[in-house]
Symmetry: C2
Subunit: 288 residues, 2 copies
């Protein structure tokens, strides 16, 4: 990859993130929205700060890859980010993964208490759907928004992300396939839904929507393997990881194979898919 | 009220509830849906069993009061019941109200553990939106469904039910008005949204939608006062109640005044509103 390619890629990534952060900042409730619940709204903002905003970026980039204006998918991109933030707040709870730090800061329940963390997660999940219904309809037909809502609610539910978190808490894995199924549900389902809804909002044809959805799933699988490589020796809870079934070389090889499959999957989309391929390669080579 | 009026009222109430229970039973995931998460889906069903199903009944009755077929509002009625079930499961958690019994059975976290209770609440909230997007669109235009989703998500969010639960946990009330504001958010918002979305799905005109929405709010306020009358001496957590500001006679009087206002509000709808008025009177006179 030449220097100028890297620059174009990174400039675009920064641009997407700035748009997402600006939208969140403009539309999230704040301390003045409802003074008696100022702390609740402060905590909601706290939960959405920082992070890579990869899911929102995927919505925007998928939409743009198919030739549509990504700004018209911003409410959905940010709703997806609210869904992700909710999942982190609830997963971090003492009764769940019991984590004390997130994105270099105290987790929400450490900072605001457990009851507020439960409520903030609930409020974020609800607000995501409110933004889809109230804000995405400013840019898209009700039919498209309903399709987006169906896709996202299925990705988030008990046969999607919540089901994945349930399986993760059980920690009853017999094979690498068992582990991958959990990861596909817990992480892959929302990543795949993100690229899929970006394609839906671009008014893409069914075959392109399918390609983007598949791309998101493969990207999620690669992402998870790279996470395992980066987290080696760092998992204090001794949760299952691919290291239970594969060695480092095998994990790296699988990650490269899946990444290549992800890129191949969107190859037929032509030049529009270039940036998404750079993103996939970038996530494969990341070191945090 | 004559004997025959009571019978007609009760027959209709039983009919609505049977329809709701049958729909829930037919459409909720079960142990076979996803065998690895059988316990999660068992717990989701556990959370929706029993109770008065008042919110679902309100959706159906509001729809029928305005001359539409209530069966065409069933997916939304049941989604509203999922939202209510989610709120009970999360409110009962140790970090929240810490309740051990609900509807005569152990609360969900007592029966299935705290992590599962958090996940079940999350899954129910998500599934409610999935049913709106995927199932209500079988009967209503995407435009109407989007209106229903906007109404419900606002009623459920940090400036609705979640905000009410936040204020309830704070227990910083200075007056009867403070307490009522919390109750309007925690309980009234969803009751009011239930009658409102029933009216929206009946394709009612704006003035009728407004009447039904107002009726739901007044019904909620009456309901809460009757709750306080019935719970006297029973509140083990010494939470604030109207008894902190009013005596029994005053509370009863207020309940009757609000109930009369609720009935008057839907008076212009004519015969169609008769059953809803009977329901309001029935809730006023209930002893559990």
């Amino acid at each position: 990859m030449s220097d100028s390619t890297i620059n174009i890629f990174e400039q675009q990534l920064i641009h997407y993130r700035l748009e997402v952060d600006a939208y969140l900042n403009a539309h999230l409730p704040d301390a003045n929205t409802f003074p008696k619940a100022a702390q609740l709204h402060e905590a909601i903002r706290y939960a959405t700060e920082g992070g890579k905003k990869i899911r929102a970026v995927l919505v925007l980039a998928a939409c743009e890859a198919l030739g549509a204006n990504p700004e018209h998918a911003l409410p959905t991109a940010c709703a997806v980010e609210l869904f992700h933030a909710y999942s982190l707040v609830h997963d971090d709870l003492p009764a769940m993964d019991d984590d004390e730090e997130r994105r270099g800061k105290p987790t929400l329940h450490v900072r605001f208490g457990e009851a507020n963390a439960i409520l903030v997660g609930d409020a974020l999940l609800t607000l995501g759907f409110e933004w889809l219904a109230k804000r995405q309809t400013q840019y898209s037909s009700p039919e498209k928004v309903i399709q987006v809502m169906t896709t996202l609610s299925q990705a988030l539910g008990s046969q999607g992300m919540v089901g994945g978190q349930y399986l993760d808490l059980q920690q009853k894995f017999q094979s690498a396939d068992d582990l991958r199924q959990m990861q596909d549900l817990k992480t892959g389902a929302l990543l795949s839904a993100a690229t899929k809804v970006g394609a839906i909002l671009a008014d893409a044809e069914a075959s392109s929507i399918k390609r983007l959805s598949e791309f998101g799933l493969l990207l999620g699988q690669t992402y998870q393997l790279v996470d395992d490589l980066l987290d080696k020796d760092q998992d204090e809870n001794h949760n299952a990881s691919m290291y239970d079934y594969l060695d480092e070389t095998e994990i790296r090889q699988q990650a490269e194979t899946l990444n290549a499959a992800a890129c191949k999957c969107i190859e037929p989309l032509g030049d529009g898919a270039m940036w998404l391929k750079s993103l996939a390669n970038n996530l494969l080579l990341r070191n945090n």
